[in-house]
């Protein structure tokens, strides 16, 4: 008997809770006239929280800044914060909850898997979404293996995708270094290395950069001398090596020992290569990166971040990229507001999407943003050069 009473009390409490939540939902929708509601879906707990927390913090910093400066068109941005624990099911649940509050846009998620799940949901609902960190092609392209696949036109990102770096470096080699011939040294069986290499080859063919040698190694290999001897015999102007710093150091050392004097080019895997080969062997090596710590455009952000969250340094590149993701989102919101639309309506969301895809070299802190047909950013990359054993920011390219 007692049990039954208890169950009824519980049931009643649940009904009350549901009513209450409905109530709050309708009030926020009603007060939509002087606020813009958006959702911020990140993984601030769980296994990969080291990536999610900086994204959450930096995005909140940007929104707080906008609000402190009077909001957009006089309206405050109300951010609904959700934790998806890097789980696709949780991100979709968070999104569905947020939809009841009439959101205008979503910022998130952080890891590729959760972001793809989330982008399926936002695409169906037609809600603009910006991610700061998901690099996989499948985030914006529904079937990456199909060249004619449909695009999730509502999903954007502030980071560049891996193959983009290959194109960038081919472009840089030809137009900045005046290279005519190139050799490639990559890692077989690594999606990152093979993807960047393929993009480099494609762009090189377009630009008339001749690939004179293609050599490779498998994970765990350290004996790069034979491959480098081959490359040295072809005497290329540049050697493009989309590999990670440890192997990169060995490759450069082996190449110099084999008598190869070509300039080494790398992608963001080269970060901290300075500790893995001698200064004289590395001299002149260049690589591109999504973010150059300490450069003019991010200095202010880095100081603010450290002060706001009491840390010594910005934890990783996701923080500045999230700041830019929030900037991109607000750019879209501004345009929709300027068109005089009502926040939270389908027309408003559509206007935001159109505004973002029409961005033309809009300055962020990690580079300037435009978007290509697949909604990937065409942005400047930071070119880092090895000078006197140090990794020195050279230019934005």
């Amino acid at each position: 008997m007692k049990k039954r009473v208890f169950a009824m009390v519980l049931a009643a409490a649940m009904v009350m809770a549901m009513l209450a939540s409905c109530g709050s939902g309708s009030t926020s929708a009603k007060s939509g006239s002087n606020e813009i509601v958006i959702a911020l879906i990140t993984n601030t707990t769980g296994d990969y929280a080291q990536y999610g927390i900086p994204v959450h913090n930096a995005a909140m910093m940007y929104f707080d800044k906008v609000n402190a400066e009077g909001g957009i068109n006089g309206k405050k941005i109300t951010v609904l914060e959700y934790d998806d624990k890097a789980d696709g099911v949780e991100s979709v649940n968070a999104f569905n909850l947020a939809m009841e509050k009439n959101i205008s846009a979503v910022l998130g998620s952080v890891l590729t898997g959760a972001t793809i799940a989330l982008s399926d949901a936002t695409f169906e609902a037609g809600v603009p979404q910006v991610t700061a960190s998901a690099t996989a092609e499948g985030v914006t392209v529904i079937d990456p293996d199909d060249a004619n696949s449909a695009i999730r036109t509502n999903v954007f990102r502030s980071c560049f995708i891996d193959p983009f770096q290959g194109e960038k470096m081919a472009d840089y080699a030809v137009n900045k270094l005046g290279a005519k011939t190139a050799a490639i040294f990559y890692e077989t069986g690594s999606d990152y290395s093979e993807g960047v290499k393929a993009a480099f080859e494609q762009k090189a063919a377009q630009l008339g950069l001749q690939i004179v040698a293609t050599e490779a190694f498998a994970a765990g290999d350290v004996d790069f001398k034979p491959a480098m001897t081959n490359i040295a015999s072809k005497n290329p102007d540049v050697v493009f090596a989309p590999i990670y710093y440890g192997e990169a150091g060995l490759a450069v050392t082996a190449a110099r020992a084999a008598g190869c004097t070509a300039t080494f080019l790398g992608a963001d895997g080269f970060g901290s290569v300075k500790d893995y080969a001698s200064a004289e062997d590395l001299e002149g090596t260049v690589y591109c990166s999504g973010y150059a710590p300490g450069t003019d455009s991010v200095k202010q952000f880095e100081e603010d971040y450290c002060k706001t969250f009491s840390v010594d340094a910005v934890p990783n590149m996701f923080a500045p990229l999230a700041y830019d993701a929030a900037m991109i989102l607000c750019y879209g919101l501004e345009k929709a507001e300027a068109a005089g639309l009502t926040a939270g309506t389908d027309a408003y969301r559509k206007a935001v999407i159109e505004a973002i895809s029409g961005m033309n070299n809009v300055e962020g802190i990690t580079g300037s943003y435009s978007f290509d047909a697949k909604n990937n950013p065409i942005k400047t990359a930071a070119i880092i050069e090895l000078t006197g054993g140090d990794e020195v920011f050279k230019e934005m390219y």
Binding site: F217, A218, D223, P226, A258
Partner: protein
């Protein structure tokens, strides 16, 4: 660069890699010859040797020669320690248990090193710089030192096995353990000595490895060990000249595969050799034909 000098530098590359493989293959072969154990932890002893040399030189700023001696001593001690702790208690156990123990020790050393030294690759300045210019090619001093040192080590090993009393005991134990014991040869001493010699060669190999590729990482020994194992099988496992031959053959093969532009397939070719040898001539080039009763 004309093709002749290119071929020459590729042969030097192959001999340099081959001498390290040969030194490691010797350890495999000697241990297999005496207690029929494939000591899969052998590659990881090299890793420990490399870390020893690395820390001796970078953290304690010891003279390179002192560091080299230290690396060889630590490798030797570790090899004997592993034998005493892990393999001696299992001497009468089935060979499979021994093999699995060896794999376990390998994992223990790799993960222990990761815990102790971190998962990062540790990099140091090359120990030997420069080289000799021969026409249009350069032969690095590191390559010359590697080849010379390994040839000396192998010659010393041959003398040790052929001419000394301990060498005689080793050969006797590998021929017939029971009979050797009856002749008054101390089994424990001889086996430990074999491990010590094999591990000392691994220690030398680790230093030569650091000369060529100045990096140490917790898993550096696994691929090196596997390739040396292929070299030992190719030469005929259990045979000392076979291990040397196999090591140089694998090193040259790798260089040739890269030289013809198939560097993507380098590892594939090495392991294809293992499969072919096991199918066509399981005893290897110099191995003895033994009919085994099952």
């Amino acid at each position: 660069m004309d093709w002749l000098s290119l071929a020459f530098s590729q042969i030097v590359n192959g001999l340099q890699a081959g001498s390290v493989y040969a030194l490691v293959a010797l350890g495999y072969s000697m241990v297999y010859g005496i207690i029929l154990l494939l000591n899969f932890a052998h590659g990881d002893i090299i890793m420990v040797g490399a870390y020893t040399a690395f820390y001796a030189m970078t953290a304690f700023h010891l003279h390179p020669v002192v560091s080299v001696v230290l690396a060889v001593l630590v490798s030797t001690a570790l090899g004997v320690f592993v034998e005493k702790v892990a393999y001696t208690p299992l001497r009468s156990a089935p060979r499979l248990s021994l093999l699995i123990t060896a794999i376990g020790i390998s994992f223990l050393l790799e993960n222990g090193a990761q815990l102790l030294f971190g998962a990062d690759t540790k990099s140091m300045d090359p120990m030997v710089r420069g080289g000799i210019r021969l026409g249009t090619t350069t032969v690095s001093f590191a390559a010359i030192i590697t080849i010379i040192v390994s040839v000396i080590a192998m010659a010393a090993l041959s003398l040790l096995v052929r001419r000394t009393k301990l060498g005689k005991a080793m050969r006797a134990v590998s021929e017939d353990m029971g009979a050797a014991q009856l002749m008054g040869i101390s089994l424990n001493k001889t086996i430990s000595f074999t491990f010590a010699v094999g591990s000392a060669l691994a220690g030398i190999g680790s230093v030569l490895y650091l000369c060529a590729y100045p990096q140490a990482s917790p898993t550096m020994g696994s691929m090196l060990g596997l390739k040396a194992f292929v070299a030992a099988v190719l030469g005929g496992i259990g045979s000392i000249p076979g291990a040397m031959l196999g090591g140089f053959a694998i090193g040259l093969l790798e260089a040739i595969v890269s030289a013809v532009g198939l560097s993507e397939w380098k590892d594939g070719v090495v392991f294809a050799v293992l499969i072919v040898v096991l199918l066509v001539k399981p005893t290897g080039i110099l191995g003895k034909k033994i009919t085994e009763k099952v």
